[in-house]
């Protein structure tokens, strides 16, 4: 039995109100909101957040293993069991080099665990998922899908898109790692037709006339759908939850009518809240569907992207006991707004005047390579007597001290309106972490007015700056936001 062992989702904190678009752009927009990656997020950083959640690691907790039960310390962590890491996106931070290696470093995966990119198309996620599901007997694969969806100001893509990452842990049934949703059938159709495209180097996509894509996608999707039902020996009424993720909004609606599944069983496509998150969307919706599912239900996942892919899952008894880190519902509810002007500036569509300070220098590749654990995984050290934690690590300490999933408290802070930042002002705080250690670091996902001494924060992996095409990744802190007040 092979299937889903766990999942994790990262929704960026900011939401853009679509009604704010037309007054500025003169066209476009709509109703509802879309998720917006912060200026310091990219598909790699969002992927790290989702992957950490999939491994059961949320701020304030030890690594909880894939089941949500506590394992003994970080060395026995779930990350040590990952045999392959897949990273899928249409918006890679780098080309001509692997982006998954940054996730590999942030998750502290074993050196022998390969990290692969599947990039370029929304269907890349299907490729990674297929590879992971097909690899029975090869251990646990972590599929991280992350996307940053943009469009020209006023375009349909701008309004309909959303930014997010979601990770699915795929593996075989084992006592420590029960399958939560078993893959019971799989079908797919591939067809060459042009619906959307983007020339290499362009920031936004173009689309063909709507009706052509709708026609083609409806045809291939129903072909795949029928193939799935035949393979499973099921009729549409046996499907408890239908998840449709696709690059073509109208086609997704047309397909629903032809599946024979009642519309009431369609999982919310998150169009009104998050937007279509492209390569991340199949994994995001699947994660959300699992969070709402009961044991022994059938969930069908239909993906429309350059053909159609259909997966049928059967949830297991183990699902009842699973407690995901960072539930989707919680992240949907915990959000802050971003103005359209700031959104445009963040995406580079509105080049605003930077502070009169030098831009950061490019990061040294060799210096970064010497500090991988610190830079990518926030690993400090603990002193010989165990009393002191040093962030950054001290060469005199014997023990590594991972701090990436620790929560902390703001001791003091300041708002710096002089420092260079892609999105001034810089909010900077001295943070005491619960597990020991103090680190002065930048805050993010926060408005200057809501910072206070005593505020609880968590570490978050971000892109501090880019220079000469080199992205400088490191950790910031952001307020802990939860629906309930779980103790820590």
């Amino acid at each position: 039995m092979r299937g889903i062992l766990g999942w994790g989702v990262h929704l960026p904190y900011r939401r853009l109100d679509r009604t704010a678009i037309a007054p500025v752009a003169g066209t476009g927009g709509g109703t509802g909101t879309r998720a917006v990656a912060s200026y310091d997020e990219d598909t790699t950083t969002m992927g790290v957040a989702a992957a950490l959640a999939a491994l059961g690691r949320e701020a304030g907790g030890e690594d909880r293993g894939v089941r949500g039960s506590h394992t003994s310390g970080s060395q026995a962590s779930a990350s040590q069991t990952i045999r392959t890491l897949w990273f899928a996106t249409t918006a890679p931070a780098y080309q001509d080099r692997t982006n998954a290696t940054a996730l590999h470093a942030a998750l502290r995966l074993p050196r022998t665990t390969p990290a692969y990119d599947a990039t370029g198309a929304v269907r890349s996620t299907t490729a990674a998922l297929d590879a992971a599901l097909s690899a029975a007997g090869t251990g646990t694969h972590l599929v991280v899908a992350s996307d940053l969806r943009t469009g020209r100001p006023g375009s349909a893509d701008e309004a309909a898109g959303g930014d997010a990452a979601a990770a699915l842990l795929i593996g075989d049934e084992a006592p420590e790692t029960p399958v939560l949703a078993e893959l019971t059938a799989r079908a797919g159709v591939t067809e060459e037709f042009l619906d959307r495209w983007r020339a290499p180097g362009d920031q936004t996509s173009k689309t063909w006339e709507d009706r052509f894509g709708e026609t083609r996608y409806t045809t291939v999707a129903i072909e795949a759908w029928n193939g799935l039902l035949t393979a499973a020996g099921l009729t549409p009424d046996a499907i408890d939850v239908l998840v449709i993720a696709g690059t073509h909004e109208r086609a997704a609606k047309s397909v629903l009518k032809k599946t024979g599944v009642p519309a009431s069983r369609l999982h919310d496509p998150f169009a009104a809240t998050v937007g279509n998150t492209g390569a991340a969307h199949p994994a995001l919706l699947m994660a959300s569907a699992l969070e709402g599912a009961q044991p022994h239900q059938s969930i069908a996942l239909l993906i429309l992207a350059d053909g159609a892919d259909a997966f049928l899952w059967r949830t297991t008894e183990a699902l009842a006991a699973h407690r995901p880190a960072r539930p989707v519902a919680e992240q949907l509810a915990q959000s802050g707004s971003v103005t359209y002007g700031r959104y445009l500036a963040w995406r580079g569509f509105l080049p605003v005047e930077p502070p009169r300070r030098p831009e950061p220098a490019r990061t040294s590749a060799s210096a970064a390579a010497r500090a991988t654990d610190w830079k990518f995984a926030l690993v400090g050290t603990r002193s010989d007597d165990g009393d002191a934690v040093h962030l950054p690590p001290s060469p005199f300490d014997p023990t590594p001290h991972p701090a990436a999933t620790a929560e902390g408290t703001i001791v003091t802070f300041t708002v710096d309106r002089l420092a260079y930042s892609p999105s001034p002002p810089v909010v900077f705080a001295v943070v005491d972490f619960d597990g020991g250690g103090r680190l002065p670091l930048e805050l993010t996902d926060v408005d200057a007015g809501e910072v206070a001494i005593g505020l609880r924060v968590e570490a978050t992996f971000r892109r501090l700056s880019s220079a000469d095409g080199i992205h400088n990744y490191f950790w910031k802190a952001r307020p802990v936001r939860r629906l309930d007040q779980r103790d820590h």
């Binding site: 001791v411 002089l418 501090l464």
Partner: protein, 398 residues
């Protein structure tokens, strides 16, 4: 192991200092020629008579050639030194120790910084290739964290803290207004300073030192030779330097109301000089007021008052020109700006003028004639990660 110091073994016999300003018409070369020229004249020596030179500059040039080239020095040992914003003091320290060692009879310390050619506002450090994890906030932001920390620890309300800081700025501007070498020569009443917009934490631009170009120089000789150059030498009583290790930044016990490096440097300097009660023994102090809260904390770290009391002494005028212990009688970094390599020597230049009775009457310290020791304090870095320097200079041996 001990810090013995060189009390009364070396004397300053000539000094020079340019005006600190936006010198659009002068580069580092011109500033160096100006400051050294004034010092040569004051000491009555030529550049050939100086045996060795130390040049302090943070980023206006590299190597001793930065000084040897504009001065056209021939066959002279010239060393460029850098120690953050304490660079100018470090140059004097090296020159003084070289003379004390007997290696040279006469040496010169020069400090210069050409800041205003960068095209950016404020001071900006040279980028050193790194792993990208170093902090990138400004010095203003780092020092601004002192304000709420101090207020909370000693029960000073935020509005009162603002008044204390404005009082410090107002005092230094009042002194600078009486100094023709200062960058800013206008008085600023407390009420106007309180109305300024904030740029970093609670700090306004007027809580920050200005940005200026400048140079300063000092000639040092063995104490026994001093009277051959001037009838009013300044004897070096103490030179102390501490480079912090950055550990307070990661220490949960550090509370941003003190600078441990300064406390250590001051203790060492007072021991070298034999000072027991600095507030009553010193005639004046020049301190590194890069930001107003820095000066506030320094009053306590340098032992001028008890912990938690500096804010009251500031408000009562204890550190005014006519106060118990005049602090920054020349106007400080606040009025002078901060050409990094020059500031430490500029502070000594004010001690040179004041202790020798050469400061103009309107800027003369109230302690003149009663006491004859001056302290200069220079720092570089941030709270928790700092280079601290303290010197004591005096007009009498013993």
């Amino acid at each position: 192991m001990a810090s013995h110091g060189i009390k009364d073994r070396v004397a300053i016999v000539g000094m020079g200092c340019t005006r600190f300003a936006e010198h659009w018409d002068s580069g580092a070369d011109e500033l160096l020629l100006s400051a050294t020229g004034e010092a040569f004249t004051a000491g009555g020596v030529t550049k050939e008579q100086i045996d060795a030179y130390w040049l302090g500059t943070a980023q206006s040039g590299m190597s001793g050639i930065t000084l040897a080239r504009p001065l056209e020095l021939e066959g002279k040992p010239v060393t460029r030194v850098e120690n953050y914003c304490a660079t100018g003091s470090e140059a004097l320290r090296q020159a003084a120790y070289a003379v004390a060692s007997g290696a040279y009879d006469i040496a010169m310390a020069v400090g210069v910084e050409k800041v205003k050619d960068s095209g950016y506002q404020g001071l900006n450090a040279f980028p050193i290739p790194g792993d990208g994890t170093a902090r990138t906030v400004t010095a203003a932001a780092m020092f601004s964290m002192v304000v709420p920390a101090y207020g909370a620890k000693y029960g000073v309300a935020p509005q009162e803290m603002r008044e204390v800081l404005a009082r410090i700025a107002s005092k230094n501007h009042a002194n600078g207004a009486r100094n023709p070498k200062a960058q800013f020569r206008k008085e600023w009443p407390v009420e106007k300073l309180l109305a300024m917009p904030r740029v970093a934490g609670e700090l306004s631009v007027f809580d920050c030192a200005g940005v200026a170009d400048g140079a300063a120089a000092a000639i040092v000789v063995r104490a026994e030779d001093a009277l051959g150059y001037t009838d009013k030498p300044l004897y070096i009583k103490a030179l102390s330097l501490v480079a912090g290790n950055g550990l307070p930044l990661g220490d949960p016990a550090y509370d941003y109301t003190t600078f441990p490096e300064i406390v250590a440097a001051a203790e060492d300097a007072y021991r070298q000089a034999g000072i027991a009660d600095p507030r009553r023994e010193l005639a004046m102090a020049e301190v590194h007021d890069c930001f107003t809260p820095t000066e506030l904390v320094l009053m306590e770290d340098l032992g001028f008052c008890e912990r938690g009391k500096a804010w009251q002494d500031v408000l009562s005028g204890a550190f005014d020109l006519d106060g118990e212990l005049p602090v920054n009688p020349d106007g400080g970094l606040k009025s002078f700006g901060h050409p990094v390599g020059a500031s430490g020597l500029r502070m000594m230049y004010e001690a040179w003028l004041q202790l020798r009775g050469e400061a103009p009457a309107e800027r003369r310290i109230g302690t003149f004639g009663e006491r004859d020791l001056a302290l200069t304090h220079n720092l570089g870095g941030y709270p928790g990660e700092m280079v601290g320097f303290v010197s004591v200079l005096g007009t009498r041996l013993g």
